[in-house]
Symmetry: C2
């Protein structure tokens, strides 16, 4: 169904988001990097993880709670390993932490072929796909995962939520091959809790095996759903465990205590991030069939996968790339009227003028 979007110039979007972060005490560089990732999300049509969500998360779990400290400085832990860094983010805002960690991992990959950056005491980085997409656009194979802010997901075979929605994000430098980076990016739950609330408002059922009721029994009734289930039974459960084990090895504490600053103050309540970058030349044997180079070989493989009657299949990252083209064509970031209203609340908080729909050009998409 066609929908009307208002075209907000990116500079105007970023100025407001930066002002909102500044009004909460964040430094200029933090606010700018915070806004940059929000703009990337909106440019790519990732409407679940835009600036509205970012400032809301910061309010709930970040500088409005004890999870995020404006102006915090990252400290680098000593390490005897040349291609691996460990940072203590000291609860710095997630977006600047993540951008800097990915830059560091890229520098390591340039030198060693592969590099990892592990981050303890981190605060929500909003949208992992944005960082791997950015690195992939710059020519690298990138990966990130983190422990999610809250334990909302029930382990396979269990009844009580002790796992986060624990996302994984992979980006591949496929622009030369298919026109955009292939980005595989999702939570390990079937749906997010926000989706449950949306379906509750709309009076529509949940997909099967997406949530459980208070007794741990699967339900498709959004009113009865209290916790989420991992996707793919034991397989998604295993993928979610990876985040918890890696997080625990980095320095994170119990998942059921995460972000719950009202509990035991002598425990840790922060998230952990893991970033990894591989230089594509560092995995290339160089001997491609039919005289192809690496990019042409990736293109040939993708064409084979999406051929033979599979032409309607999508590649992960394709929807986001298509939306970025629409944003570029419109000359700005695209928001619905309801979203403009939510930016109005942000403007009020930051002492900035509200955005009026009448002030923006619009496009029906």
């Amino acid at each position: 169904m066609p929908e009307t979007f208002f075209i907000v110039p990116e500079s105007q979007h970023n100025a407001l988001v930066e002002a909102a972060y500044r009004s909460r005490g964040f430094l200029a560089d933090e606010a700018a990097e915070g806004a940059r990732l929000c703009a990337e999300a909106s440019r790519h049509g990732v409407r679940t993880h835009n600036a509205i969500k970012a400032l809301h998360l910061d309010h709930l779990f970040g500088s409005g709670s004890q999870g995020c400290v404006p102006g915090a400085q990252i400290s680098v832990a000593p390490s005897r390993f040349a291609a691996a860094r460990v940072w203590n983010a000291n609860r710095k805002l997630g977006q600047p932490t993540a951008y800097r960690a990915m830059d560091e991992a890229i520098a390591l990959a340039d030198r060693y072929g592969v590099g990892t950056v592990s981050v303890d005491n981190a605060f929500h980085y909003l949208w992992g796909g944005g960082y791997v997409m950015d690195a992939a656009r710059r020519g690298y194979i990138a990966y990130t995962e983190c422990t999610a802010a809250l334990a909302e997901v029930v382990p396979f075979g269990g009844k009580f939520p002790t796992l986060g929605t624990n996302p994984h994000s992979w980006g591949f430098p496929t622009t030369a091959a298919v026109g955009y980076p292939i980005v595989i990016d999702w939570a390990t739950s079937v749906v997010a809790m926000g989706r449950v609330q949306q379906l509750k408002r709309e009076g529509r059922p949940l997909p099967p095996m997406a949530a459980v009721d208070k007794d741990g029994n699967p339900t498709t009734d959004p009113n009865a759903a209290v916790s989420l289930l991992p996707f793919g039974a034991h397989k998604g459960y295993g993928l979610s465990l990876i985040n918890e084990i890696v997080g625990a090895m980095i320095g994170g504490s119990l998942p059921t205590l995460r972000s719950r600053w009202e509990t035991d103050p002598s425990d840790k309540h922060t998230c952990a991030f893991f970033f990894q970058v591989i230089h594509p030349e560092a995995i290339s044997g160089g001997a491609f069939a039919k005289g192809r180079d690496q990019a042409a070989n990736v293109r040939a493989v993708i064409e084979d996968i999406l051929g033979h009657g599979n032409e309607k299949c999508m590649l992960p990252g394709q929807v986001e790339a298509d939306w970025a083209r629409k944003s570029a064509s419109a000359g700005g970031l695209l928001f619905t009227e309801a979203e403009l209203g939510a930016f109005g609340e942000m403007a009020q908080e930051a002492g900035q003028p509200r955005w009026e729909a009448s002030a923006f050009k619009s496009v029906v998409l």
Copy 2:
């Protein structure tokens, strides 16, 4: 339902498997490493990927076809990257290739914190979980994936099989924390084609959304099923794509040509392997809550996940660890009478005496 298992001493198992590989022209070290991984699979109760399967795969796609060359030597490609190796396996048997690649990745991780080994022109390594479990038992975080031998899986939204069952395997050094390595290891299809055939024989239906018929429509009828589906819709599809993209970057050609040596001889028909090892100290911030060390912190996190009413949940790798205890307690590898019969065929081929059930002690489990 209790089942009778015959206890085959590991040395006797390995001697027969080595003889079978030797009879096909493999060198002594290849045969020994080939048998070693088969013994590991059987010790851990991985009955789908034991020696019977290994020799069968070699017959179908390996030395019995053109996919595997006994005595092939691995060549190391030049690389400017210190922590990344690229090998050309020249179609060497998969198990020795994989053991050596994992050893090399461990040596890189010891030095750089993280190391990768990418392998072009590879032949089936049987059971990825075995290599990451071995590395995890030795104290490392290990990962491997490969492109599967055949294109049997339909991309999400498609109708024709152009993807392999493309497995991923992660191993974590959790022996000090939970008593055994946590090993997350599965194909990206809902089920394997062998499972479809088994259900067909037993007259039982497939799980929903596991397979499609000749027109690409989902079916639960094993007689109508011709191709497999990825698990978790677009999420499993994305995970399967990772293997194809990484394989294409290493040097693999079109998935629909893989192992099909009867097609275009000027193209490539081999698999690709990717291995990665991380030293656990290379991701440790060292600042664990409550004065814990890294292993105690992992244990505390796992106890939190499996607490709160989730005590019946399993950890990935637990079933395999339990079976290894049964094998150790029995004093050998455990096989059913039907499996002993299949080893008989192997013995006949290798000019060795057949195994008679009456020659082995048995145990009911």
